[in-house]
């Protein structure tokens, strides 16, 4: 894993950027008549799907962390490495 993955990411990200812009740019030219509210609300709902999936993941992780690693959790009885150093 280590080093090559980071290089891979540094290459992958610009590629994604290039691809998405080129693909959109060569799509059908602007000036076409569309129904504004349908396009805008469509984009909004797509955004909401993404926001709520990530939201569920992040809130799930936070809830797990808060519940699992709370002080009063019996599994947490032993003290972590950092403690006891005064």
């Amino acid at each position: 894993m280590g080093i090559p993955l980071r290089q891979a990411l540094l290459v992958a990200i610009p590629l994604v950027v290039m691809f998405s812009i080129l693909q959109a740019a060569f799509a059908q030219e602007a000036g076409k008549v569309i129904i504004n509210r349908v396009e805008v609300w469509g984009l909004f709902y797509k955004g909401m799907v993404i926001a709520f999936t990530i939201g569920a993941i992040v809130m799930g992780v936070i809830a797990y962390v808060v519940f699992r690693f709370r002080e009063s959790n019996p599994k947490n009885a032993s003290r972590t490495s950092m403690e006891g150093r005064h």
Partner: protein
């Protein structure tokens, strides 16, 4: 080890002191007063909007617009900034192991300009919203109130620039020689980055304020269309200052969260370097996205795209902070005392604010959300959710350090839950309210069933938050008077060192 070694000093000695802890204490007291009276205005606004029509709590639109403007200005410049510089004053000299700030007298001057600005803003109560957008602020905003606001904000701007210079020199120049910058706490990094952003951002608005004032006098026409000026120029100057400014409000709160989360998780920070990198990236990228506030002023397509890219580029930095905190809490033994509860509550609301921001950033969605209650909910999730929660958490954590006494833990937790539920009710509902098309800054709304219900939920949330704030102030004042003395070595029993410097050079 009791803090107050010598005979307690007379009041005036604290008021006119230049020592960083005294100036820090004065900043915190002023900011808490501002929080309470500004909050009272917010409760008046929300109660007025409980029902459509005029409930008589705020008699007429003029008074409503004046209250709304003062609430906005007060909360941003008299609660957020002074509290951040107050806590900075308290801790930075200790964290860089220097006896005081670089220029103690300048520190006191910067503080004493703040109540002057506060008086000007409050005694006038202008009505042109805290944007002061021309041409309304030039051609229509009445009274000495408008000029008083302009000079009040001018003074507050200069005060924050002086404070920023003081912090930068203290951190970079007065740091203990054998303490490398990469070993100082992340709160030091947060304050350093905030101060550098202040130096770059505030002067633009200082200029815009003078132009606005001379336009009002009629001697110039920078933003006055009748004299050939362009009101959009003002909006560029305003937002070039104020979008970075919203990061200036947020970064100290993030720094304070970095102070608390490792201590209460009894675990070191997941990645110090990632925190520093995120601060530096945010400080730079913060300046590339100001005109997403102006999508609706008729910008052309390419210009909007540039600022959308600038806005989206600021999201990874905040995402790294969220990752850092969760990763720090992972595997810890977390003690959910009041400070930690506030910071984790702030983290949750920070995520919702960020998610909403990604929606705002998209150009087409601006047609839905611009100047609507979605935006009100969005930025309040930042200023009331992340920032005020982190500040209150840090205030509870610093309570024993400042007063030597311990606050009432149960009251603290009840305050947290009241504020968390209240804030969530108000501002998450306001997102949907905005999508239903209710504009921002309205004295009244159309008496249509969905709008009424959401306004009522929002107002009930405001009352819950008000109860939480009252309990907060009661707890702070009551415990300062008769709280039991705190164990200065480890006041929260988290098995970690509190500010050990307090034992070597106690002050107060």
């Amino acid at each position: 080890m009791v803090l107050e070694v010598k005979k307690p000093r007379p009041m005036w000695e604290i008021l006119f002191s230049t020592h960083h802890t005294d100036v820090g204490l004065l900043y915190i007291i002023l900011s808490l007063v501002a929080l309470m009276i500004g909050g009272a205005l917010a409760i008046a606004i929300r109660t007025e909007l409980f029902l459509p029509g005029n409930q008589g709590i705020i008699p007429d639109p003029n008074t409503f617009h004046r209250i709304m403007t003062t609430h906005g200005t007060n909360m941003l410049f008299l609660w957020l900034l002074p509290f951040a510089s107050g806590m900075g004053n308290y801790l930075i000299p200790i964290m860089v192991r220097y006896k005081d700030m670089a220029w103690p007298k300048l520190n006191a001057v910067a503080f004493w300009m703040t109540p002057m600005g506060m008086a000007l803003v409050w005694l006038g109560m202008a009505d042109f919203t805290w944007y002061a957008t021309p041409p309304y602020s030039i051609l229509r905003a009445p009274g000495p109130a408008a000029e008083m606001w302009i000079f009040g904000i001018k003074i507050l701007g200069i005060a924050s620039i002086l404070g920023a210079i003081n912090f930068i020199v203290t951190i970079l120049k007065m740091k203990h020689p054998d303490l490398p910058l990469m070993k100082t706490s992340l709160f030091v990094w947060a304050t350093l980055m905030t101060s550098i952003m202040i130096l770059v951002a505030i002067p633009t608005f200082a200029a815009a304020l003078i132009m606005l004032f001379t336009d009002r006098l009629g001697v110039s026409g920078f933003f006055n269309p009748a004299m050939g000026g362009d009101p959009i120029a003002y909006q560029h100057l305003f937002w070039f200052t104020f979008h970075p400014e919203v990061y200036i409000f947020a970064i100290p709160a993030i720094g304070m969260a970095y102070e608390l989360i490792p201590k209460f998780s009894r675990k070191p920070i997941f990645s110090y370097q990632s925190g520093v990198a995120a601060f530096i990236v945010l400080a730079i990228v913060g300046f590339t996205s100001w005109a997403h506030h102006m999508y609706a002023t008729g910008m052309n397509f390419t210009e909007k795209t540039v600022f959308m890219v600038g806005t989206l580029s600021a999201v990874p930095a905040s995402a790294m902070h969220v990752f850092n905190w969760i990763a720090t809490m992972w595997g810890g033994r977390i003690k959910f005392a009041t400070p930690m509860s506030f910071v984790v509550g702030g983290l949750v609301l920070f995520f919702y604010a960020g998610a909403g921001g990604v929606v705002n950033a998209q150009m087409p969605l601006d047609f839905l959300t611009h100047d609507s209650y979605w935006v009100v909910g969005h930025f309040h999730l930042f200023v009331m959710g992340l920032i005020t929660f982190a500040f209150l958490g840090f205030l509870h954590y610093m309570f024993p350090f400042i007063t030597g006494r311990m606050y009432n833990e149960k009251a603290g937790m009840v305050t947290f839950w009241l504020l968390f539920v209240g804030v969530s009710m108000i501002f998450l509902t306001q997102h949907v309210l905005g999508l239903y098309g209710q504009p921002r800054r309205v004295f009244d709304y159309i008496a249509v069933e969905p709008l009424i219900i959401m306004n009522q939920i929002s107002t009930v949330g405001a009352w819950i938050t008000a109860a939480g704030s009252a309990l907060l102030i009661g707890n702070l004042i009551g415990s300062s008077i008769k709280g039991k003395p705190a164990d200065m070595v480890d006041p929260f029993q988290i098995g970690q060192v509190y500010y050990d410097q307090t034992r070597k050079e106690p002050h107060h």
